[in-house]
Each structure stands twice: as structure tokens, then as C-alpha cells.
Chain length 201, copies 2
């Protein structure tokens, strides 16, 4: 069985990565979101290993010290983290895992999992990015200018990714990402077993 | 403008690469076959630069000495060759060039053009390959056994390619190759201009 793909999607804020990821998950039943670990209590209906991996603080700290997190943070007294060990388990079962993550975070993941598929989303133009950020309606001119400047700086980081997809329309972007996943599954490096013949390909 | 893709398709004999390439060209008008150079005389209706590049022997030998051929051979007193210089010209104009070539030849091309896309076709199984070779009806048991042995040796060379596509049905194989081409066009390395902003993406 082929190991699953770790699919990491990122992009400057305002490039619409959330919408693209939702559509991708809806279209591709074989792809699932990465599941975070947390120390907060499960809410009604939440299942361990489905919404979150629920840990107590002592377990969470052990996982930190054992390097099991790709990243973690404390938010209002609770810990949240992305557990690499759990992602690895799922990949080894052949599941494809989607990780939607900020620009810099994705590069940290790339150092730990170079065999992942790193996709950077671009807005169709700087003007479009500006109008998307303005469209949120919460920006004064100064903070808009700062956010645009940050976005341009973040976009340069995209040069360190594997693939770039222009999010001109959701359908185009999702179609290109699907093609990338198909191509990645065809990589020779992921298919060494096909070249073994004792007992067929 | 993005440079065109050099698409190199190969596979052991009997894997159906000719059929796959024909269907690919029929489906994708932006992809064209590589054009060979030859010293033989043009036949009626043949146009220089369309069917062949027609050279005289002196020109052909100059091209050889200048390293312009990916490969060349003399057949019944005429020279035939695959001119790298002409392929480069077309790639620089944004054309995608398809090169269907034998297993070992493709690796020579890869050394000269590492930015090409190297796709290795596999038969769905050794049994299927055997029956395809038998189906040609020209093999005695000894030569069949030798051809199969050669095919197995050739297939091991596929581990040095970028992608592997199992030719179980033409439609599946062609769909996977199309996805590979879409993905390759999304590679960051082929899209550095998209990260330049002075004047938009």
C-alpha cells in the first residue's frame, strides 16, 4: 500500500485558502483534515481522535518534550498542537492528510516532513488581494496598508514551496490541486514497489 | 511567458507508449512531437521544420561536432537525429514538446535536460506484458523469453525517472499524464515570475 500524502496548503492572508481547502475536502473523500491535540475538555458530541485528540496537561507536556508536535500554542489556558506522530500514523495507514497552515508554519513542517506536498496559494493580483482585504470591512487605511505589506512579504516565502496555484476561481484552484495530488501519487519515489517483479509489479 | 515543458515518455517494449503518446497529442493541442533532423531528401509534401529538419551531410556533421544532437544514428546511408537546439528554441517559445524514446535514450536526455518531465510507462502486470508481446505473433518461445527478460531489465531503469504511470487502460494512463503536466506547470521553479510584484503577479 502506498503511504498517504501530507498535503500542506498555505498562502498570504486574503488568498482564500480556507475556502479552497473546504472545497477540496468536499470533493475528495480520501483526503481528511489533520486533527489537533488539545487539553481543553471535550464538548458534547466530540469524539477523541475525530474532532481532537484530548490530552491532559501532563500528557501534552510529555508530547512536547518528546518532539511530537509540529507546532503548539497555549490559548486562554489550554494547549493546542498539531501532532506529527498522529499524522505519521494516519499517513502510514494510507490516509491523505490536509494541513492548512500559515506561511511560516508550513516551512517548519517542511523541514520535518520534506516528503509532504507544499502548495502555495496566490491571489490573482495585488489589486484583487487588496480588494479582498478591504472587503472584510474591518480595516482602516493604515492597517490595510500594513496588511498588504505583510502579504507581499509573505508571498516571497512562497518561493520555498513546491507548487504555486493562483486562486483566480475556486474551481480552477481546486482542479490544479487535484492534478498535483494525482501527479504526486505517480512520483517514482512513492512507487518503488511497482518496480519489484517477483510476484508481478 | 512560461517556458514549454519537455515531456519525455518511455517504457519497456510492449507497454504501449506509442498508443499513449498518440492519444495525448490528439487530446492536447498545445503539445507537439519533437521533430527529427535527417539528411535524406524531402518527399513530396514534406516541409522543412514540420516533418523533419532537412540538412545536407556536411550540416549534419557540423551539428554533431557542435553537440546539437541528443542522439543520432545512420540508417541505410542517411543520418537521423534529435536536435536539442531546435527543441530548446521551441521550448523558449512556450511550446510543449513530446519526446517518445527508448528507455536508455531517455536517461541520456535527462542528463542534458534535467528540467524535463520524465515519465515511465509500466504494463499492468508481467502477465499482461507477456501476452502483449505474444500478441504481436512474431515471437518463437526463445525470443519471447529473451524479450521478457529484457523488458524486466529495462523496467528497473524506470526507477531513475520522475514519474511512473501504469498503462492499464489508455484513458487512465493519459489522464494521469495530463495531471502530471498540469502539476509540473504549477512547480514553483517554473513560476518564479509569479512572485515578482512590481506590476502585479
Amino acid at each position: 500500500m502506498q503511504k498517504g500524502l501530507l498535503i500542506v496548503i498555505s498562502g498570504a492572508s486574503g488568498t482564500g485558502k480556507g475556502t479552497v481547502c473546504k472545497k477540496l475536502l468536499a470533493d475528495l473523500p480520501e483526503v481528511a483534515y489533520s486533527i489537533s491535540a488539545t487539553t481543553r475538555n471535550p464538548r458534547s458530541g466530540e469524539v477523541d481522535g475525530r474532532e481532537y485528540y484530548f490530552l491532559n496537561v501532563s500528557e501534552f507536556k510529555t508530547w512536547i518534550s518528546e518532539g511530537k508536535f509540529l507546532e503548539y500554542a497555549e490559548v486562554y489556558g489550554n494547549f493546542y498542537g498539531t501532532p506529527l506522530n498522529k499524522i505519521e500514523e494516519r499517513l502510514n495507514r494510507g490516509e491523505d492528510i490536509l494541513l492548512e497552515i500559515d506561511v511560516q508554519g508550513a516551512l517548519n513542517v517542511k523541514r520535518k516532513c520534506p516528503e509532504g506536498v507544499y502548495i502555495f496559494l496566490l491571489p490573482p493580483s495585488l489589486e484583487e488581494l487588496k480588494s479582498r482585504i478591504e472587503g472584510r470591512g474591518t480595516e482602516n487605511p493604515e492597517s490595510l496598508s500594513r496588511r498588504l505589506k505583510n502579504a507581499v512579504a509573505e508571498i516571497k516565502i512562497g518561493l520555498q514551496y513546491d507548487y504555486v496555484v493562483v486562486n483566480d476561481t475556486i474551481d480552477n484552484a481546486v482542479a490544479q490541486i487535484k492534478a498535483i495530488l494525482t501527479a504526486e501519487r505517480c512520483k517514482v519515489a512513492r512507487n518503488a514497489d511497482k518496480f519489484e517483479f517477483e510476484g508481478g509489479f
